[in-house]
């Protein structure tokens, strides 16, 4: 299975991964030129924060082996695929209790800023071969690589 591996030392904090994610998950066009950067509905599933030394630090969903978000989910909206390793989220089954948000050890899951009571989380860009954030990282600080199960 493939995972996003982060090399923090290469991250320059350009936020290209974030805007790529926003663009990929935007309800309209997937073109970066048409991404509305003032529309709060366009939300990134990843973010860059700064550590104690002001070093940019990418925060990405790990699609954990033993995902706390899945354990915490009471409706079964959050599931782990044993074959692909991917954690999926089914909006239809979500009760918006946000226990997944509270239990994520990386602080990467978040409630939608909109009033639709959904959870915003990484989906590895659904059918894309390489997630768009990885594709748009100019320093290869994030890579999509095959890892052992």
């Amino acid at each position: 299975m493939k995972r996003i591996i982060i090399d923090k030392s290469l991250c320059m904090g350009c936020l290209n991964c974030t805007i790529a994610c926003m663009s990929e998950h935007s309800s309209g066009s997937k073109s970066i030129y048409e991404l509305d950067l003032e529309d709060a509905a366009n939300e990134g599933r990843n973010h860059i924060t700064l550590d104690q030394c002001n070093k940019p630090t990418p925060i990405f969903c790990r699609h954990c082996d033993d995902p706390e978000c899945v354990t915490a989910c009471m409706t079964g909206a959050m599931t782990k695929n044993a074959d692909t390793g991917k954690v999926s989220y089914d909006e239809e089954h979500c009760a918006a209790c946000f226990m997944c948000v509270m239990s994520c050890p990386y602080g990467v899951l978040k409630p939608s800023s909109q009033k639709d009571k959904k959870v915003i989380r990484c989906d590895y860009c659904q059918d894309r071969e390489i997630p768009r954030c990885v594709e748009n990282c100019p320093t290869e600080a994030i890579k999509f690589v095959e890892v052992d199960k």
Binding site: M12, G13, C14, L15, I48, P56, P138, T139
Partner: protein
């Protein structure tokens, strides 16, 4: 770096910080945290978006843009573009000032600083008995230089520059042609697939530095002195305490004092107060903000009846409006933050913009024109009265009157300081020779919110320098920060080292001298030049350093280029988007020492920066044979 005022960036001015934290409007101080993640390519100056193959960024895997431009070319191109834009801003300011002087002279108007007109005429070699004709000739001479083609060198450079510098500039081939053409060609040179030579572009920056310094700074000061009066040293109040809610308050932002000349005169005319009193106010007051406020403060002796005082610098302006005490904002140039718009709307403050260069989205444009000055000033007065009447019933006024100081020493200029010293620089030179004053530091330029916070680096560095007996001279938004924390009040002498403290206390002066707006960096150059002349040395030999610790804008980079052309060490807390190019960084921080004598020193630690500046002053003292 958040502190007890959660969500607001730190400010050296803790009263201001507390006030901003208590506001229910958003300011730049609030927005810093959401902009704290920066683009690394941008910070290093290696992002190029000059063509549709881009934006290209330089990485180890991609050392060239699609076109083949490497980091050196990209950084130098971006840097020259910024310097050209900054120089252009200052040239615009001088163009308006000189044009106003010309029209005022043709109308046989009143000069409040005739001595300065004579000084300019003598400098330019103009022999004309009639003062108004003299004004026309001086202004024309300046304008003619600005409009020359690049191939024709500007004539006044030789008359304004210190001879050893002029000779060096000539030898280096960096004497400027027409100012506007130099700016124009700086833009052309850096366009898509034109110059790729980083050294040639950096030399163009030096040329633009000369344009900025001698013309944009020095001549703008002097032309304004002719029309608006010479600075005179006096004690003045600063900070929010200058705002008296009993008056109809007009806040000024920008850099063009000349544009306000007529309005100022209208507001001290007899009978004008009656118009304010008719709507329940005590009269009219001008509230200084940003550099043009510093200009008014500098020349405040001529307008004491209407000028309330300087409230604060660029990043104080939002809070000034949020007090509710301002009824009208008149803006004409930069440091008029877009962020003031929403606050002005909320506080129902009318905004009028007098120059479309700085047109604010929600302001009425009332383009300045000398011809229409009567009509325009009347419109401003009517709008101020109307705004006062409409808003005061609905808006709460809350002015932190404890903010600021009543005893700021202001009005310093090359003439007023020399006058204070008895008409000669010898007393200052003697103090330096004796070691009572170890050296001089020009702490100048802007304020930003990122070098440790609002004015934090500027204030901390200044305290470090005076502690080491280095006299600090300030011009720009830096002085706005320094005055509001009390460093420009005589009581600040106790923060200085023993030797400097003794000097300050015996003269009754603060250890940080307030020259006012960024334009007054030109006045510091005149002082440096005159002192160097007395000593018979070139500028780089002086125990004088510059720091623009919290530089913000492109204009600051143009000012900085002037400092480099003068051969002076220039400290910056944050690099000017140049570190991505080893060549550009090497030229600006090392190689220039052997070319003009100047260098940029990048240091983001206050104490280390002071150590470096003190060490340079020490070396220069030793070279001059001083202990």
């Amino acid at each position: 770096m958040l502190n007890k005022h959660c969500g607001v960036c730190p400010s050296a001015d803790t009263t201001l910080q507390g006030f901003i934290a208590s506001l229910d409007v958003e300011t730049a101080h609030h927005r810093v945290k959401n902009q704290r993640v920066k683009c690394g390519f941008g910070l290093q100056g290696v992002c190029c978006r000059l063509c549709s193959n881009g934006p290209c960024r330089i990485t180890p895997e991609a050392p060239q843009g699609v076109c083949g431009a490497n980091a050196d070319t990209i950084v130098a191109r971006n840097f020259l573009r910024a310097v050209a834009a900054g120089a252009g801003c200052y040239v615009h300011v001088l163009e308006n000032a000189a044009q106003t002087l010309k029209e005022l002279s043709l109308q046989k108007g009143k000069f409040k600083g005739e001595a300065v007109l004579n000084r300019l005429a003598d400098m330019f070699g103009i022999d004309e008995p009639d003062m108004h004709q003299k004004g026309v000739l001086v202004a024309t001479k300046i304008l003619e230089d600005l409009y020359k083609p690049r191939a024709a060198k500007m004539e006044l450079v030789e008359k304004l520059a210190y001879k050893p510098r002029f000779d060096l500039w000539k030898e280096l081939g960096i004497l400027p042609g027409g100012a506007k053409s130099e700016v124009f060609d700086g833009i052309v040179k850096t366009s898509t697939n034109l110059s790729s030579d980083p050294v040639n572009m950096l030399f163009h920056c030096l040329t633009l530095g000369i344009v900025t310094g001698l013309y944009g700074l020095t001549l703008t000061n002097l032309v304004n002195d002719v029309m608006l009066g010479e600075p005179a040293i006096r004690i003045a109040p600063v900070g929010f305490r200058v705002i008296d809610e009993g008056y109809i308050n007009i806040m000024l932002t920008g850099h063009q004092h000349a544009i306000f000349a007529h309005l100022q005169d209208c507001l001290i005319e007899e009978g004008i107060s009656a118009r304010a009193q008719a709507v329940g106010a005590k009269g009219f007051r001008l509230i200084g903000c940003t550099c043009v406020g510093q200009d008014l403060q500098l020349r405040g002796t001529h307008y004491q009846d209407v000028f309330a005082g300087h409230a604060g610098n660029n990043f104080t302006s939002e809070a000034v409006i949020a007090t509710g005490g301002v009824d009208l904002i008149l803006s004409e140039f930069n440091c008029t933050l877009p962020g003031i718009e929403s606050i002005a709307d909320k506080m129902q403050v009318k905004m009028i913009c007098l120059d479309d260069m700085a047109k604010k989205a929600n302001a009425d444009l009332l383009a300045y024109s000398f011809k229409d000055r009567e009509e325009n000033s009347e419109r401003v007065i009517c709008e101020a009265i109307e705004s006062y009447q409409q808003r005061r019933k609905q808006i709460n006024v809350c002015i932190p009157k404890e903010h600021g100081h009543d005893d700021c020493v202001t009005g310093l200029s090359e003439m007023s300081l020399k006058g204070f010293l008895g008409g000669s620089w010898q007393p200052l030179i003697d103090l330096i020779v004796k070691g009572k004053i170890k050296g001089l530091a020009g702490v100048v330029g802007c304020s930003n919110l990122t070098a440790k916070g609002h004015d934090v680096f500027t204030v901390e560095l200044t305290k470090e320098l005076i502690k080491r007996n280095i006299l600090v001279l300030s011009a720009g938004c830096s002085s706005g920060g320094l005055e509001n924390v009390g460093l420009m009040s005589p009581g600040a002498a106790k923060l200085a080292g023993n030797e400097l403290r003794e000097v300050c206390e015996s003269l009754g002066i603060p250890p940080v001298l307030n020259f006012g707006p960024c334009l007054a960096i030109g006045r510091l150059e005149i002082i440096a030049t005159e002192v160097a002349e007395v000593l018979g040395v070139d500028l780089p030999a002086l125990p004088l350093v510059l720091s623009a610790p919290q530089w913000l804008e492109e204009q600051a980079l143009a000012d900085g280029s002037f400092g480099l052309a003068l051969g002076l060490p220039l400290h910056l807390a944050q690099p000017p988007f140049m570190t991505g190019s080893k060549l550009v960084a090497d030229v600006l921080t090392e190689q220039l020492l052997n070319i003009t004598g100047g260098q940029i020193i990048i240091e983001d630690d206050v104490v280390k920066a002071a150590d470096k500046l003190e060490a340079i002053i020490g070396q220069k003292r030793t070279a001059l044979g001083l202990t």
